[in-house]
Amino acid sequence: MSSLESLPGYDASAPLLSVSDLHVRFGRAQVVNGVDYAVDGGRTLAVLGESGSGKSVTARAIMGLVRPPRGTVTAGSVKLRGVDLLTLPEESRRRLRATTIAMVFQDALSALNPVLSVGYQIAELFRAHRGLSRKEAHKRAVEVLDLVRIPAAARRARDYPHQFSGGMRQRVGIGLAIALNPQVIIADEPTTALDVTVQAQIIRLLREIQREHGTALVLITHDMGLVADVADRVAVMYAGRVVEQGGAAEVYAGPAHPYTEALLGAIPRPELRGRRLAVIPGAPPDLTGPDGGCRFRPRCGYGVEACEQAPPALAVGPGRLAACHEWKRVATP
């Protein structure tokens, strides 16, 4: 179906999406500093972390949306079934977007062109990638809108983005991402701007699509509750690195990195009502400075001398990694 099989390096047994040692630089700031994660078909990887931790930039780098002069991918690889996207010529890479790998943007209003009707914008995909006629493409676009539960899809297809409510708009955004049945969907905080009931609908929609097509889903979020619900694996990012990675249940049950522990501790709980909310002291580090040692050190309660050296990702269990010298102390309750 897609042209992925014919590209160099294709290996059916390799993971669907694997990112390794990705480095992205924006001017003087090293915003992504060696990210590794992988996700397979039908699975959901949640990428957690605070604003500015490099979650979205990693996603954009995977999609090839980090472009000079604003930013450059300086090292690493992004592989789809073994095909390295970063070494691929731009034209073959362009063909893979939307057909094999697609992205749902955080703010659907700004991600939709205000002067084109939503039906046109979805139909454009079918015309550009599948070579369908204008009429046929429009029919398919209405089907897509129907699939993402837009009521009266045929009529709403002629409406413009500003005429939709926030939740509807995000559905259109998801429609754009799933229209060509990609194998990998990266959802960059798809529910952040929405209220809780709509959030649940959007996530349910993404899950259904994933179940039907066996899509690999990378869900970028800072909503810990959402992660617990839907993710198979989580990758926790801090200052441009994945500091902890593992099965969602295990990471939640026993975090092995002080940052994960602090993040989980900061979730408000009903039984702690009336008490002060837990916070992580300090502020995220300045990424323009030189990288000396563990980036979390200034905010960490476990700091030891060894933290002057940046910790490598250590295997702390089956399929679990944590970038902390003191993970044993953190993991023991």
Binding site: L65, T99, F105, S110, A111, N113, P114, L116, Y160, L176
Partner: protein
């Protein structure tokens, strides 16, 4: 249910825009005048014959410089031709030049400004520096020098010179709005669904960044007509066998004291035309700029 109200609401704004425009007296009057001027330019025969004398080239030197007389409401020019029909025919070159210059400037500005704003890098550096050179240069002097050196002086050469010195201001506006649009999320999203560069430029960047340039161009039309007359008046634009308001004013300056009507009637037409185009541009800007609504 909600969707049906939204659909009906969507038809409203365009309707309302028209109605609101027509309700503005400035728009109604200026567009009527502009329409009449354009009609004069397209078919001067229809207007020139109103008072009997229709042919601007049928002249009798006996009548040279005579004031208004029955059948000749504007009098006669220095060659003894009917001034009214000359003024009517004069609209043609003004409107033609206005159209050519506006289209040319807009084309160059959209292409160069768009390329500079979208691709940045060396293309932007080159185009922006060229624009800076034009901004730093006294354009009237430049236009006079070039036209002095030109061997022919017709509508095309005058338009070319006006375009040459007019495009940078528009291109800079275009570059600015393309810069804003090119970094917007929907352009990233378009790229993310595999749109190629040409599709992104034509479908996403251009329609979203065209507005300010279109409005500015509309405001400029009056200025273009005035500059054409100024160049002709200075003697470097269109020249005598040609019929234009600038040429008429240029001739009139020598006979101003003895035959003031030679100066008065063409300048009334010129002023009213320029004024109505400026008002029209203003009204359109007010109507289309969402921040002013």
């Amino acid at each position: 249910m909600a969707s049906s109200t939204l659909v009906s609401a969507s038809a409203e704004p365009r309707h309302g825009l028209w109605r609101e425009l027509l309700r503005r007296p400035a728009f109604a009057v200026s567009s009527a005048v502009a329409l009449v001027i354009c009609a004069m330019a397209a078919v001067p025969q229809l207007f020139a014959g109103w008072f009997g004398a229709g042919d601007p080239r049928r002249c009798a030197l006996v009548d040279s410089g005579l004031p208004p007389a029955p059948g000749h409401p504007f009098g006669f020019d220095i060659q003894g031709c009917d001034l009214y029909s000359n003024v009517v025919y004069g609209a043609r070159s003004s409107v033609l030049i206005a159209l050519l210059v506006t289209a040319g400037m807009m084309l160059i500005a959209v292409v160069l400004g768009g390329l500079a704003g979208y691709f940045r890098g060396w293309a932007d550096a080159l185009i922006s520096r060229v624009m800076d050179v034009f901004f730093g240069f006294p354009s009237l002097v430049g236009m006079i020098v070039i036209l002095q050196a030109a061997s022919t002086h017709n509508e095309l050469t005058v338009s070319a010179v006006l375009i040459l010195f007019g495009w940078p201001a528009l291109a800079r506006v275009m570059r600015g709005s393309v810069l804003a649009v090119a970094t917007s999320e929907y352009v990233a999203a378009a790229r993310g669904v595999g749109s190629g560069t040409s599709r992104i430029l034509l479908r996403h960047v251009l329609p979203n960044s065209f507005g300010p340039v279109a409005v500015l161009t509309g405001l400029n039309i009056g200025g273009v007509i005035a500059s054409e007359s100024a160049l002709t008046f200075l003697g470097v634009g269109l020249q005598t066998p040609a019929i234009s308001w600038g040429v008429q004013l240029n001739t009139a300056q020598q006979y101003f004291l003895t035959a003031p009507h030679l100066l008065i009637f063409p300048s009334i037409f010129l002023t009213v035309t320029v004024f109505s185009f400026v008002l029209l541009g203003d009204a359109l800007r007010d109507a289309f700029d969402p921040r002013l609504r």
